[in-house]
């Protein structure tokens, strides 16, 4: 059944990807701004030279033809050449991807390790000051825009206090020979503690910014499901058995309460992808999100198209992962 479901999911991807491609294509075509003009900037060129460049990039064809060509090539795994980099789009994306994955993972871990204990605590201390404060806090966390919270952190910790760096992923003087391309992991694997510390100091603020909303949501989910689970008959029965309180709380209640938390975490990771664009731009993080934003300004059509397709595939896959996790955590649902 798993394999069948997997194939089903893959099949569902086809219309999603087609639709997403079309929408992105239309939006890019309809937004004012001409990639050729942007590329040439202030350079003086003859109309012939400009025409040649336009032909080179395939921009002299009518839009519907360009779309069909794009789809045709994409089906063969060719997503075109980045206007700006003059290299295959896939290559450029692959270079930027590890930074984004690293940032997303750290944000997720931060969100999970703070949200789960706080959610459990809020449930156990229901209706106390702590519970109410955490409710207000998580509401703020959900509703605070990324850019605003990010800039706030940046101003305070980087600009005023100088505790943490303003931008980037690691300072230039640190060299880490790549293994996984995740700097935190590689620097540890290479035993380069100084580089690890430097990379860590760079990732803290963007990861906090990115993880805030997710953490707030996960905390609420954990609190709600803990409250529900603590009323369940099996928790009462566990109490009737005379088990220790921590065992009832963490083994009987939390194991069940985490099912929705983990599922929502997988789904929310898809949302983090969107947040990446803003956060990476604020913190000068050399990842995919910032690349996409830059490419939009450059009217770098092929790169934007490919990146958005990549996001869409990732999003659908994360949904699928959420399903799988739910099944694994919940023995009642058979694979």
């Amino acid at each position: 059944m798993t394999l069948g479901k997997f194939i089903e999911r893959l099949a569902q991807l086809v219309p999603v990807l087609l639709g997403v491609s079309l929408i992105v294509f239309l939006m890019m075509s309809l937004t004012p701004g001409d990639p050729v003009e942007i590329m040439l900037g202030d350079q003086h060129v003859t109309p012939e030279q400009e025409q040649a460049l336009r032909h080179d990039l395939g921009l002299d064809r009518p839009p519907h033809e360009r779309f069909l060509v794009f789809i045709g090539n994409a089906l063969q795994g060719d997503f075109g050449t980045s206007f700006y980099h003059r290299r295959p789009v896939g290559e450029v994306i692959a270079e930027r991807l590890p930074a984004t994955i690293e940032l997303t993972l750290v944000a997720m871990i931060l969100a999970l390790v703070t949200a789960i204990p706080l959610g459990v605590l809020a449930a156990v201390k229901k209706s106390t000051i702590f519970d109410k404060a955490s409710t207000v806090g998580s509401l703020l966390g959900v509703s605070m825009p990324h850019f605003w919270f990010g800039i706030l952190l940046l101003m305070l910790f980087a600009v005023h206090l100088h505790w943490l760096p303003v931008a980037g992923r690691i300072d230039y003087e640190y060299q880490v020979e790549p293994i996984t391309h995740l700097l935190l992991v590689d620097s540890l694997l290479r035993g380069n503690i100084a580089a690890f510390g430097n990379a860590l100091s760079h990732i803290i603020l963007p990861a906090l910014t990115l993880g805030l909303a997710m953490g707030a949501i996960l905390m609420r989910v954990t609190r709600t499901s803990m409250l529900e689970v603590m009323r369940a008959d099996y928790v009462r029965f566990a109490e009737a058995k005379g088990l220790a309180r921590h065992r009832i709380l963490f083994r009987h209640a939390l194991k069940n309460a985490l099912i929705p938390t983990v599922t929502v975490a997988a789904l929310e990771t898809g949302t983090l992808l969107g947040g990446n664009m803003i956060v990476e731009t604020i913190f000068g993080w050399p990842g995919l999100g910032r690349l996409v934003v830059e490419s939009i300004f450059q009217r770098n059509y092929p790169l934007v198209q490919a990146a958005v397709l990549f996001y869409a595939v990732t999003y659908v896959m994360l949904n699928f992962l959420a399903d799988i996790l739910y099944t694994i955590l919940n023995p009642r649902v058979k694979l």
Partner: protein, 346 residues
Amino acid sequence: MTTTTLPRPDTAAGDRPEPVLSVRDLRTAFKTSHGIVRAVSGVSLDVYPGECLGVVGESGSGKSVTFASVMGLVKKPGWVEDGEILYRGRDLTRLSDRELRALRGKDIAMTMQDALTALNPALTVGEQILEVLRAHADDLPRGRAGRAEARRRAVEMLDLVGIPSPADRLNEYPHQFSGGMRQRIMIAIALACRPRLLIADEPTTALDVTIQAQVLELIADIRARLGMSVVLITHDLGVVAEHCDRVVVMYAGQVVETGPTRAVISDPKHPYTQGLLDSIPRLSDLSHPIRPIQGQVPELIDLPPECRFIGRCPKRTPDCRTGIDMRPAGPGRAARCILVGEETEA
């Protein structure tokens, strides 16, 4: 206060040992948005060593809350307002959380009303039975030997309640067992530490008739083997008639009648007990009409001092407006009805 000292049921029956459990004037309330619900108001009862005591009454009469109070499991918004719960002479209402935890599951065990939801769906059956052994069995050796011994006892217990090839099934989850099997597993867990007192809250309600009979037989069998006392909570007087030595009839948070099962059933003193009897089908006489008691259990908020059954009682008199205490009604018997005294006088 309308505290009643129950006549000792044994006064006529000869020497009886001290009760295992003795509840005295228990009051448990819940705070709700409509007001304070007095779910249990002044319940007194005794459970003697080795006996099976039936606690019977319609849904909502306070049976579960009474024994949740005994177990110290009443949670906010509820609380035990007053009363004594004496377990072998110790008042459980005065024990600390830690002392209560040491008793729960070891000395006094309870099975829940719904076996299908009482087992944790995310933990294996083996873990759920082993954890109670580990929590209480102080005699288990440490380390590997202790784990092996706990496992042996778990398998033995599951075998005792009739789970086929129990050793192979320790790693399975509750959903992999049938409803009847889950009921048995819950009983195995409750009995794992060989308690002196088992409180079985409606052990058969969720089961179909044949399995009901099997589970009740099982409890009776284990009671005889382990020599424990059983409190069988049920809304079915038929079950009580078949399995219990004595019976406590509860209505609207109070005990309304108590006595030896056979005597109570052949000659009920309280109109409510009579009503319960009339509402069960009789296998011996299928033409006998089933007459359910009309009306409903009153809301347990701001109740006047009058007899709580007054609204539904076919024999009510104007005198029922005053509060009525339990009255002696024959050997080992008592009932909360003004007709009791008059009957004997008449």
